[in-house]
């Protein structure tokens, strides 16, 4: 059986690339020109031709492992998705033919892109260097051994099928948001699992099955071995991240492109147009007075001191003398009061720093979640707005109602577009909320996200790129942890350890929160040394009082706190909620993620892994 020559190979992958990427670019261009049907036809034709080329390739290379393994699996997957989508169409009766076609074409395109990516990796990793050799073989292992490949296939299968499972009757922007949230979640989960199994599997099995005997008796340093493994996994992940990112982008934009027919309301349409596929900066309001929140705080404190000097200190005494928890509670009260508009009252919220809004951005979005402190007869909150002292009309008010009244469901997010012309030259805008209905209770906004002004600062595309980059940093760290764990643990234990790490890092916030309220513990404000000494003191105190279980709880908390302190928080570097909400995933977030996850944590794990591996005796007792 003759193997196609190198020229033929380049021709094959080149044709594939031109068809898929070219088709995609032309389709995107046509879509930008609002030629949706033409775009679909072009893309469908390109993918169809690519399918023919692929089928030819699978036949021509049927003797080669690369093709026989991967391409046949790929063809099987193609058949599976056809059957599954037809099944879904028949059972639910929901998704129309167009959705199914898009799903199938999407899977096909993603799988083809993945193949192209693999080809690219093999092209890049062809130099004669130990690290490159090990990296390349690790990639080969990933796509030729079952466990990692199954997860990769699952990812390429699940992502395009996701739109089939999103309820069609939802508002369009929610459908897009749901898609973004779930697709990011699936990508992150699949890649994390694949990374853990691959990283742990490749090192432990090489030690177990002794392939490492051969590698390490060649001029390969132990650090080079670990580096090669990591680079292999990280580059495979990079390809998968790019493929998923393109998939997410294609499906999200194609959902948004249907806004003319699929939007459920005017607000929905506007939200899709302005808010969903965007990267928006959020600005929180500040008080209009000279002194700001500090002034309000002082006013409140003086009043409290007059009423309760025992708790809050004598009027006029320095604020620094206040205990931390008292000061915190007063701050919370002030903030909550300021975010509450009593009945028949007005509060002016000033948004500042609105400079640097790109040219061409027509409007900023006021995002509010009005919450009534009392009950509302119909579940709606009503209020009026003045922007820069001018009454602001509700453009979407139904005919025959008050054109200045806003009527929003209680405790739900709404977005009101405001023209950028309302922003003055200092980059400020004043928005006054008037709680006008005489029979309505106080209206309050959550200080966290109850009222904010969002404005587009960057495109959805760049936001997605940064989000995917952060996802990659996370899986790259996982790969390093898996490798480091495998240098001294067996497959099951190393997998468990890495999974535990992953879950602890992902749920860092929740765990830290639940630990912080578990058992008595020295106060966080104390100096470190006192806190450390305080732990045994607390335990002894508890046990002396006969509260054995409480003392034990301190021990548990100590263990938990120690564990949490050793694990980075993925929650801080989670781009998914930001991306789904159309908020900016900033360069600075990406920078911080690169520093902490990419450099410090991955580096630390690499050093730990190297030190353990260097000291390890590779062979085992055979006598």
């Amino acid at each position: 059986m003759a193997i196609p020559s190198r020229t033929t190979q380049f021709g094959f992958f080149g044709t594939l690339g031109v068809l898929v990427i070219g088709g995609m670019l032309i389709a995107l261009f046509l879509r930008a020109q609002d030629q949706a049907t033409a775009a679909n036809i072009v893309f469908g034709t390109a993918v169809g031709l690519a399918a023919v080329v692929l089928a030819w390739g699978a036949y021509a290379w049927r003797e080669m492992l690369f093709s026989s393994g991967l391409l046949s699996l790929y063809l099987v997957k193609y058949a599976v998705i056809l059957v599954v989508s037809v099944f879904i169409a028949l059972v639910s009766g929901g998704p129309d033919l167009e959705v199914i076609i898009r799903t199938v074409v999407g899977t096909y395109a993603m799988a083809t892109l993945f193949l192209l990516g693999l080809f690219l990796i093999r092209l890049v990793f062809r130099a004669g260097h130990p690290i490159i050799g090990i990296a390349r073989t690790t990639v080969d292992e990933a796509v030729r051994m079952k466990a990692p490949l199954v997860i990769i296939v699952l990812l390429i299968l699940l992502l395009p099928m996701l739109p089939l499972f999103i309820p069609q009757e939802d508002q369009l922007r929610y459908r897009i948001q749901t898609f973004l949230t779930w697709s990011m979640l699936i990508t992150s989960l699949c890649l994390s699992l694949m990374t853990i199994f691959l990283a742990v599997g490749t090192v432990t099995s090489e030690i177990h099955k002794r392939q490492i005997f051969l590698t390490l008796t060649k001029p390969v340093g132990r650090a080079q071995y670990l580096a090669g493994k990591w680079i292999g996994i990280a580059s495979l992940n990079a390809v998968l991240i790019v493929v998923s990112g393109l998939g997410i982008y294609a499906f999200a934009t194609s959902l948004a492109a249907q806004k003319d027919v699929a939007a459920r309301s005017g607000y929905d349409y506007l939200a899709v147009e302005e808010g969903v596929l965007a990267a928006r900066q959020a600005v929180k309001p500040v008080p209009t007075g000279e002194t700001g929140l500090a002034g309000l705080f002082n006013q409140r404190l003086e009043r409290l001191r007059r009423d309760e000097p025992a708790t809050y200190g004598q009027p006029g005494s320095p604020v620094a003398a206040l205990p931390d928890d008292v000061r915190n509670s007063v701050q919370q009260q002030v903030l909550q009061l300021w975010y509450t508009v009593p009945p028949q009252n007005r509060t002016v919220y000033r948004f500042t720093g609105l400079v640097g809004i790109p040219e061409g951005v027509q409007s900023v979005q006021l995002r509010v979640k009005p919450k009534l402190t009392g009950s509302s007869p119909d579940g709606f909150a009503r209020f009026a707005l003045r922007v820069n002292d001018t009454p602001f009309p509700n453009e979407l008010a139904p005919p025959g109602t008050d054109p200045f009244a806003f009527k929003f469901a209680d405790n739900k997010h709404y977005t009101i577009p405001i023209s950028t012309r309302a922003i003055n030259e200092r980059g400020e805008i004043d928005i006054e909320v008037f709680n006008f209905p005489p029979d309505q209770s106080s209206l309050s906004f959550n200080p966290k996200d109850g009222i904010e002004l969002l404005y587009r600062v960057d495109s959805f595309e760049m936001n997605l790129v940064r989000s995917m980059a952060i996802l990659w940093l996370r899986v790259a760290l996982l790969a390093m942890i898996g490798i480091a764990a495998s240098t001294f643990l067996g497959f099951p234990v190393a997998c468990l350890a890495t999974l535990l790490f992953y879950m602890a890092a992902a749920g860092h916030g929740y765990i830290a929160e639940s630990i912080s309220s578990y058992g008595a513990f020295p106060r966080a404000e104390l100096p470190v040394l006192e806190r450390i000494v305080g732990i045994p003191t607390t335990i002894i105190d508890q046990w002396a009082e006969g509260k054995y279980w409480d003392g034990f709880k301190v021990l548990i908390r100590m263990t938990g706190s120690g564990f949490i302190a050793l694990i980075p928080s993925f929650a801080e570097y989670n781009p998914t909620p930001l991306l789904a909400d159309g908020r900016l995933v900033s360069w600075s977030l990406l920078g911080r993620a690169s520093l902490w996850i990419g450099l410090i944590w991955t580096g630390l794990m690499a050093v730990v892994g190297y030190l353990l591996f260097r000291a390890r005796e590779i062979a085992r007792v055979i006598v």
């Binding site: 059986m1 193997i3 003797e63 080669m64 492992l65 062809r126 130099a127 004669g128 260097h129 130990p130 490159i132 050799g133 090990i134 390349r136 073989t137 080969d140 292992e141 030729r144 051994m145 099955k209 002794r210 392939q211 490492i212 005997f213 051969l214 590698t215 390490l216 008796t217 060649k218 001029p219 390969v220 340093g221 030190l611 260097r614 000291a615 005796e617 590779i618 062979a619 007792v621 055979i622 006598v623």
Partner: protein, 410 residues
Amino acid sequence: MARNPLDEATAAYTQEASQSTDLVVKCAGLTKVFRDFWMRNRVKAVDNIDMDIRRGEVFGLLGPNGSGKSTTIKMILGLLHPTAGRIAVFGKHPRDVGNKSLIGYLPEESYLYPFLNARETLEYYGRLFHQSGQVRRKRIDMLLEMVGLDRVARRPVGEYSKGMQRRIGIAQALINDPQLLILDEPTTGLDPIGSRQIKDLIVELKRRGKTILLCSHLLADVEDVTDRVAIMYGGKVRRAGDIDELLVEHGQATITLPAFDESDRLRIMDALDKAGLHEARIDRPRQKLEQFFLDIVAEAQAQGLATSGAGNAGRIAEFLRTDETQEVQGEDLIRELASKPVVEEAKRPQQPARPAAPQPDAGLIDQLTGNAPPSPPAQRPQEKGKAPARPNQPKPASDEDRSVIDSLLG
């Protein structure tokens, strides 16, 4: 991480060893004790052995199962760390990474990646030696042809039979044209053609001044090619030395003659009797089964019979044969001798797999049976440098080898 005091001792030792440049491997007081989880000493796998391997020699490490051969090899390779004692390989610490480019290692089993095919496997190992794509491709083509896997090079190694995997193992051990080749049970799982080829290869590499550490149970194989052997039992070296010195039987001598008829036999016996050699015995040497087998297979391959297994094992790879620095005189002859039994390429005319039997030389017999007194006990024919095997020679040695082991085993 603090340096192991043992490492420091080795460092001082390696300096000393590097001064005597003809020592490729030097072990002194080498001991390996395997401990269990509680650090209790469990097994003394290698017990205070001293061993030197000189440049350019074929050193055989023999011993029954579990005698510590593999452990010793793994310590030389840096895969295991000695409990006590010192090792220097090329005058350096056994875990020195740069040194590894001088070493080729064939482990006791073929530890290959089942998902790679033969060519990719060799590509992988070539990359580990920093070889450029061009050098890699050239060497891999030669090696694949040499081990007879060029036609199945695209099949995943996981589907190979044990012997075919072994062949890939041999190819990877040679890809860097090593100065020191460590072969751990190289002929396990190989068919006689493969085994024979390993022996040819060892001889050829030795001719080029390479050092070979051979570890095997197949004593016949070892005997054919080694210069010196060490026999291990229970982690200790029981006997070591030059193989010819160890094996020569001082009470007997062998005379090899061309075939002769019954009347000649009587004349020879008579002559010997007259010379006072009353216990002389004349036997017809039997062909060795190995040679017989090789002839049959060569015949089948010449007829072009199909096989899905390993194909014709070709000539020893060019880069392993040629000396860039010095051309040895008569190299062609040696090459021919070394590769003769396995030259079966269809393109070339079929050569006799075995040198034709020499014609009887009546003159010699006459001379012998006439008045000439028998020569003093002949020294064992020294032809290892020229041909790997001595097919027509009586072989008393293997029985003796076994009895040595038996006596060691008690």
